[in-house]
Subunit: 404 residues, 2 copies
């Protein structure tokens, strides 16, 4: 698990607040949930056979012996919460977003940390393809505002009956090829067979490329929805490609699904999502068609690798104890006026104090010693030009305002 130090935290917070604005403008409201949930919240939603549930969860018992798990993703907790708080009374649409840490026990590598940050939305009571569009356009707008060029892979898994039919079909197609598949895929045939399409094994890929992909077999109505969905993406200049073998790693998806990748950047998906019409009822809530997506914040940060420089408006240099005292009062006054101000809090040499001012990237340095106090002035140095002048303390606000 990694620390995010002050140098990086600024770009992290900028990203979050940009996303928060877009979420709000798309009508999503924030929900803040516990990082730990009862374990069954995840085993019931993600599927017993998923890698997450089997290998990657941080699970432990609380002092009463209840099994808790640090959330590996956001959707399951959100669904648990909206059901528990009765937000899904019939016909209601509920649009929420979340931002926060998630936890998976994986081998740490570039872009994959054990504590990582995701933000995402869930749109409950979302029947028409407009709601799929609403979600994708929101995700796309966030990346646009963040100046991150993405391409979105899209596909449709069709409705539940399409999915059932296709599962039968592919089971049959793979029956006599079982021995050629890798060990993981052999297991997948019994649990969630669609995931064989996620396999990176060359042999498996070879076998699968000859099998009719799910898209070809979905019903006309689902194809029509998918076409309308694409029309809207085109209308709003969203860059996408159709990927007819795209499935998603979790059990709960059906209908339109998608994954976003950063253009010309070699990395995993930065975002993924889709429709999940049955998850709410599986979790004990009313039948509620829903869509949602999540964005991996760490990966976006990594891409941006923000080089924004910290700087402050003014640094106060004090020569002698009276100056230290007067400067401290000035410091607080400046901050209350909205300027970023710093000083050396101990009696130190001018040289050491100027060094510190530089390390803060101060735009101005104020110097005050016995002389200045006697003359009731302060010295101010513009650090960009090197220009120095004497002013009255009450002129400082004007000087700083002109620059900032």
């Amino acid at each position: 698990m990694e620390d995010i130090l002050p140098q990086q935290s600024t770009s992290w917070q900028n990203m979050i607040s940009t996303a928060r604005c877009v979420f709000n403008s798309f009508g999503y409201h924030e929900i803040i949930l516990p990082v730990a949930e009862r374990t069954e919240v995840f085993t019931r939603t993600l599927g017993d056979s998923s890698d997450i549930v089997n290998k990657e969860m941080y699970t432990f018992e609380d002092k009463k012996g209840r099994s808790l798990t640090l959330r590996p993703e956001g959707t399951a907790s959100v669904v648990r919460a909206v059901i528990e708080h009765g937000l899904l009374s019939s016909g209601n649409t509920v649009k929420v977003f979340y931002i926060g840490p998630m936890f998976r026990y994986e081998r740490p590598q570039k872009g994959r940390k054990r504590q990582f940050y995701q933000m995402g939305v869930e749109f409950f009571g979302a029947r028409s393809y407009y709601s799929d569009c609403d979600a994708v356009l929101c995700m796309s707008e966030i990346c646009k505002k963040l100046d991150i060029p993405i391409v979105i892979k899209i596909n449709t898994l069709g409705c539940k009956s399409c999915l059932v039919k296709y599962t039968e079909f592919i089971k049959k197609s793979l029956t006599n090829k079982q021995d050629d598949l890798c060990k993981d895929c052999a297991t997948r045939i019994k649990s969630n067979i669609l995931r064989v399409f996620d396999c990176k094994n060359k042999n498996c890929k070879n076998i699968l490329k000859d099998i009719t992909p799910i898209y070809e077999m979905v019903c006309d109505k689902d194809k029509q929805q998918f076409t309308s969905f694409k029309d809207v993406l085109n209308k709003f200049d969203v860059t996408f490609v159709e990927d007819r073998t795209l499935v998603r790693g979790l059990d709960y998806y059906s209908g339109i699904i998608y994954e976003a990748y950063i253009k010309d950047y070699n990395s995993d998906a930065v975002s993924g999502g889709g429709r999940y019409n049955d998850l709410v009822s599986i979790m004990g809530g009313p039948q509620t068609p829903s869509v949602g997506f999540a964005i991996g914040i760490d990966r976006l940060i990594e891409y941006k690798n923000d080089s924004s420089k910290k700087e402050i408006d003014v640094f106060l240099v004090s020569l002698g104890p009276s100056a230290l005292h007067k400067n401290f009062e000035l410091l607080i006054t400046l901050r209350n006026l909205g300027f970023s101000a710093e000083m050396e809090y101990e009696e130190k040499s001018p040289k050491s104090q100027f060094r510190k001012a530089n390390s803060f990237n101060a735009k101005y340095v104020v110097v005050r010693g016995e002389d200045e106090i006697k003359k009731d002035i302060i010295k101010i140095k513009d650090m960009a030009t090197g220009h120095e002048k004497e002013i009255k303390e009450n002129q400082l606000k004007t000087v700083l305002s002109n620059k900032t």
Copy 2:
């Protein structure tokens, strides 16, 4: 562990962003840390005998058998991080703040949750009393900006040698009263004796009120620092009271300490902090005088119980499929212009759509049906006045801008 639903999350986020501005203006930079740490990070810093370590930690093993704990407070993790990343090279001052969830296994009650949120600062390399002032004034400014009236209890525990002397003194004073103290205090005598002053037991309180409090026994230099500290608080109109029996619940404090309470509001402290000159070296870093405080966010929220009303700029009502399609495009266009806009994504009756517009507290409702499409206009209704008129779609931006 509680969910924070959309209705509350707005006031929560407003609070956070106000605090973030004040932290930044006081020169503190954000650090974002894992919610779980190796268990020894907390046992070494909080003291083996503290209630937190003994009864309240969520501790569990990861898949490699290492003991991890969900952080019960922020300071220990921050100290671990600044040492690990080598930020404390000699003479450096480091000022950081954190905001995030903390975890304690307590009986849930008003203002005490098992997952709760804290924000706080740590100022490393802070020798003079100005740094104590810097922290307290920052805390006070946050409450002022949030319009939360507080009173701050202050005290000084003196330097390390004062503390050692006083510990000896009180041990002696309590020797023959041991049997009259409660069971917890009897244990405290052996572990951290100062905590007897935190005891709520009547008997214990009675015994302790006759014992010279620590403040009376600190050395002149520490008293002088404390006086200078109070002078600054007075100067900046911070409301405080001296509480000569104030100690803090954690082992690591020395010097000036404080706790903030909301005025005329019956609750526990909303903030607390103080000086901890030895903690960094105990954790294996260089000797680094430091100060810090934490604020409990849940308690502030509870006090504010914010009644801010959600509302949106415009809701789009569609009569028929073509209108639905045109309105969806208008919806996205409006959002991209910065307006908050919503619509019904399914074909529904006008009545049901207006009901929804009301539930969103829409300032305006746009209505579009076959008639409007034919005439190439839209109808717009001002929901405050009930006034309705027909306009061209491209006039909508101007109408909305005049109101918002």
